[in-house]
Symmetry: C2
Subunit: 395 residues, 2 copies
């Protein structure tokens, strides 16, 4: 038979990253294309012990249906940590557990965006989020980034030109893919613009805990006296992405709608995973674990930057992130970026072409994303050497 | 600020069942309102051992990002079982793991239904699925049930009258909420109508393994020479609903679109849970476990029917299911069903009013759903006695 798909899904393509990830199943390919935590970053012993305890002490609770809004003890622990550590959470705020931050973004779009509504995002931005917006027929408007975050005057221009903009989607810390962190001044300016143009901000912060250099910058959500910021957090980078546990903190009215959407989406998030997160937060030393992660990623980031400095053609620029998992490289104007990425894969090094991260696939970009958390040190050294040689041939 | 929600979410209400479930958090209320497996139905020892083995043998695989389409070993085990046990799976079929059957329904709707498209469903039908369709702006057209399944001539009428019908949503085995099983003849007739009107069938079969009386009836999917049937299965009723693992088997083109939608939805289903399902299927005696479940539910169903026969006003009718978890009661025409349900809760017995399961909330119904899997035997005896007294006062 001839199948007829919905407009929303017909227009959506498989993520270029995940397609490349499949390709990197080839064990001879050095992958800088993923965004996976380092294998040594998993607290395996703790998870093993906690999980055994849960299945011994409260097995039925861990296997039975649970509440859509999430495991109450986890929600309480998270609210407390958000308040104590990040100064997040007004009286009007509520918190819902979601199946990874990806679902947090998807449900925010589901609750707030009609087909044709505009979502303003950083350019470049995280492909998974962009696809979530596209999957509800939202129109993406990208606003250029500078070294200290989104360009504020271009953002205002975009807001003026798009009165049907429903939401700004921002990743203020160690942005994916650029690695850029938004300055405190820009965060204030962004919030003021959101007030002036009466728009919701979706603040995605999966990497915020992974700062290995410089000083923490308060989240936009800390300034949120209006309830217009939805803050999206995740356990994927500090505990495990395979467990698929994230959370949204926002005005209780919005969170109420998100819960209704989640009920129709997957009823609730895997409860065993939620219980693991809760016990990990309350019974283990989370701060010490995070300190260990920072050490791992600082070392890996420094190594990759050191090798880039050594091998890359000086005409190629790249960001120097203060945290997170990614470095963003940019080829000079006259270079064919797609050909570069294709040739890199031929030589057994995978990077993600920048087109994966643009608001429109046809937007021009000379950039590509490199990840330093997944490869081993040896792979970083070897892979950057290969890429470096390529930059000298290509540019 | 004034929040603006999407049309799809603004029109969606929290499920009446889950609202009542919250109410039943009161431990003095006997709940016939849930659809939870019996606590004694969980293979706790097996899950405990398997989980420990996974976290000892392959902890990184259990915690790291995984593939959107699902854990390969689980997909293989499922394809084999579907073929061997249920005769399901043509050459053109593919299988994707989803975060519970609810997500299977939601992603099918996401892939196939535009806003305003019609989904034809049984009347009554499962509220969670109806809400998934509503959450994409689909219009629901309900078709009356008979004792052997959907009314075929009314189904044809609905197909004629709704040329923009995209999908039929059917639960052929021990339907939720009615407990009705569709006869083989009707399954054939339904498939022929789907061919004649060139429409997709979403066959939801969460309870199929839980037959405790009568003979198995082949799934509609076994007749699917065209690739127009999407079959939706689940581990929720045979292993654990808290793990949130289900699957869709359908034409590879449709499944490909579902995978793209899932990537934007939650990246992938919790991988530890998928590994638990795989080991439970391949290392434990699944058929023996299912035989044990049938014993449990046969006993509970028989007990509830016995008590209903004893206490209910003969003017109240109810179905006698051959499997599954639910009995569907119907009050005589002159009785106020909503008042009955409200008074029942006052007397500490919760049932779900039939309005939760109608295509339109304003559709008239005299029915209510009773679940026998969750309450203890004592609660079944006590609860039915209270409801029985009420039927004699009300009708």
């Amino acid at each position: 038979m001839q199948f007829h798909y919905s407009n929303r899904i017909a227009s959506l393509k498989a993520s270029a990253i995940r397609e490349i990830l499949k390709f990197t199943a080839d064990p001879t390919v050095i992958s800088f294309a993923a965004g996976n935590p380092a294998p040594e970053a998993f607290p395996v012993e703790d998870v093993r012990r906690i999980t055994a305890e849960i299945l011994s002490e409260e097995p039925i609770s861990a296997l039975q249906y649970s509440l859509t809004e999430g495991y109450p003890a986890l929600r309480d622990a998270l609210k407390k940590r958000m308040k104590d550590v990040y100064s997040i959470g007004m009286d009007f705020d509520e918190l819902v557990i979601v199946s990874g931050a990806q679902q947090g973004v998807e449900l925010s779009a589901k609750a707030l965006c009609n087909e044709g509504d505009v979502v303003i995002c950083e350019a470049p931005s995280f492909v998974g989020a962009l696809n979530a917006f596209r999957s509800f027929g939202a129109k993406l408007v990208g606003v250029e980034m500078e070294q200290d975050g989104i360009n504020i005057s271009l953002l205002e221009k975009a807001l003026k030109e798009n009165p049907n903009a429903r939401m700004m989607y921002l990743i203020p810390n160690f942005q994916n893919p650029s690695g850029i962190t938004m300055s405190f001044e820009k965060r204030k300016a962004v919030y003021e613009l959101a007030q002036r143009y009466d728009i919701v901000i979706l603040e995605d912060n999966p990497y915020g805990d992974l700062r290995f250099e410089g000083e923490d910058v308060p989240a936009i959500k800390t300034m949120d006296t209006d309830g217009r910021v939805i803050y999206c957090g995740s356990y994927s980078k500090i505990l495990s992405p395979g467990l698929r546990v994230g959370y949204l903190c926002g005005h209780k009215d919005i969170i109420g709608k998100v819960i209704v959407g989640k009920q129709a989406g997957d009823v609730h998030t895997n409860i065993l995973a939620q219980m693991i997160c809760e016990r990990f937060m309350t019974q283990c030393d989370l701060d010490r674990h995070i300190a260990g992660l920072k050490e791992i990623y600082k070392k890996k980031s420094s190594l990759m930057l050191h090798e880039l400095d050594k091998h890359f053609n000086p005409k190629v620029t790249y960001t120097r992130p203060q945290g997170g998992l990614f470095i963003w490289g940019t080829l000079p104007k006259d270079c064919d970026m797609m050909a570069f990425c294709r040739e890199a894969v031929q030589r057994k090094v995978a990077v993600v072409p920048g087109t994966a991260f643009t608001a429109q696939e046809t937007d021009p970009t000379q950039s590509f994303r490199m990840n330093f958390s997944t490869p081993t040190d040896e792979q970083i050294i070897q892979g950057v050497e290969i890429l470096g040689a390529l930059t000298k041939e290509f540019c």
